[in-house]
Symmetry: C2
Subunit: 309 residues, 2 copies
């Protein structure tokens, strides 16, 4: 067995506490030795106020996992790569497409692993669906990704600022699944973005794609839905309707539920990170973020009623 990997978390917010810390604690191969956060601390490890202090204080560290908001991802990742660390990025991997491509080149030049994670791809229905779709003709795809922003992003002002993605913050999870399960690339044909008149990012979006063979792919993202969320992808195929629900936790094919393994997205992400480090490889698939940038580039803007948190 390979030796343990020492790792630090940068950005101790909701996602770090809910997912990253428990996932690391449950795996043998990682040893959480430190955290960096402006305000928060984690018990039982060394705590630093920021990544620069962390990198200075932990010269022996193997890897960092970046969980802060995407606005600061690039500078943190660059600093970590320059210090010789392997880097794992929460989604989205950056605030812009180009910066992720530049990071990929930096990691390659530094001979370090860069892993741009898409946690939804590790939900249990995804690989089963991918295998099914590889063997059947696809007629159409409908994505419905709707939730209550007040429930899932309470008081998170950054999602409404330029670069904060708005409803594409959850929507990009759907796109990360779609780009994994479909056998062909999808091209954006048109997009309509609904932007609250007092905000800078969309609260809803309608997207029309076409795959390389002309199969229509429609996506509806909406943050004004609930209280129960709808995270569904429905694919009409020659083998019946494939319906992935609850963000990939459940799957039905032609109306029959498919038995799936329990959900363990974040442990699977860290196992993948470990595998990439052991094999000296990268995993940087920028396509979900690129499709979101395309939606902003191509999308028509429609002002809708103000949103007050």
């Amino acid at each position: 067995m390979n030796r343990k990997l020492s790792i630090a978390i940068v950005g101790v917010g909701k996602i770090a506490r809910d997912q990253h810390l428990p996932a690391i604690a449950g795996l043998d191969r990682f040893d959480l030795v430190a955290c960096a956060s402006r305000n928060a601390t984690v018990e039982g490890v060394r705590n630093y106020p920021g990544i620069d202090a962390l990198l200075k204080g932990e010269p022996e560290l193997d890897a960092v996992s970046l969980c802060a908001t995407p606005h600061v991802r690039f500078d943190q990742a660059r600093a970590a790569l320059e210090a010789g660390k392997h880097v794992m990025l929460e989604k989205p991997p950056g605030a812009s497409v180009h910066e992720v491509e530049v990071l990929r080149e930096m990691a390659r030049a530094a001979g370090r692993t860069l892993f741009a994670t898409w946690h939804s791809r590790y939900s249990p229905a995804v690989e089963v669906t991918r295998e099914y779709l590889a063997k059947h003709a696809i007629h159409s795809v409908h994505v419905r990704w709707k939730e209550d922003v007040r429930r899932w992003h309470p008081g998170q002002e950054w999602i409404w600022t330029p670069g904060g993605l708005g409803v594409f913050d959850p929507g990009i999870n759907a796109l990360s699944i779609v780009t994994r399960i479909l056998p062909r690339e999808i091209i954006l044909k048109s997009a309509a973005l609904s932007v609250p008149s007092n905000r800078q990012t969309p609260i809803a979006a309608e997207l029309d794609f076409s795959d390389e063979q002309g199969v229509p792919v429609h996506a509806s993202f909406d943050w004004r839905y609930g209280p129960v969320e709808q995270w569904e992808i429905e694919v009409e195929t020659s083998g019946g309707t494939v319906l992935l629900t609850e963000g990939g936790k459940r799957l039905a094919i032609a109306g029959k539920p498919v038995d799936l393994a329990p959900e363990r997205e974040y442990p699977a992400l860290y196992e993948r990170f470990q595998w990439l480090i052991d094999h000296g490889e990268q995993d940087v698939d920028v396509r979900p973020l690129r499709l979101v940038a395309d939606a902003f580039l191509l999308g028509s803007h429609h002002a809708v009623e103000p949103f007050e948190d």
Copy 2:
């Protein structure tokens, strides 16, 4: 000498007549045999109403040059590659970033040359500037790309529609030069887009980038300027101010004009296309379009006064 290459122009509009047809006519290696256009015809060659009729009617054709608006670029390029043709794309190479990346893979799989052109890169000052900047420390970069939209895009409605890029249609020329002359990548930090209240694309934009070493790069694009345009890039260096003007036709270093060859952007593009075909290579640098998509993704929107053409 290699044999002549038969070529067809698709999209016979202003840019085809002003630049592509004269460039091809002036070169020995290309033989213009056909054109495709919904409305226009070119004398002395076979004319078709669209690319499908062209590809059907000209099975021996070697290459196509796509000069229509970017909205139709992907479908035309895909059809041409599937028919085994080499493909040259006017700028911008597509309506979205992802579609250009997909085309690149299609061309690779088909074993055909795909050339995403950036004509401004072939202006005479560009390579001289690139070599100078490689040898000097760079302190800052200021891009001023301003013109009168009524003069340069009279009645072109598509530039104001989603995906039409607005002021980024000329601005992307500046970005194509910047990404060529600078020795390091630039990352977008913030963007402010001024969008006329009755239009969907910006009439002006202010962009702040930082290069990989933290050097500031600022770009101002404005379509409300004139009558004489300002197409300038000013670089403060350890070797004095490098000032590229008239879109790259003129260059001064530390106040002294540099002798340059005459402008011949489009002949140089076709010579490059010929070279790529002869050597079985691709040239698809999507970075200028990626940076524009990043500006839409990251940019704050500001409504400004309506624009009436």
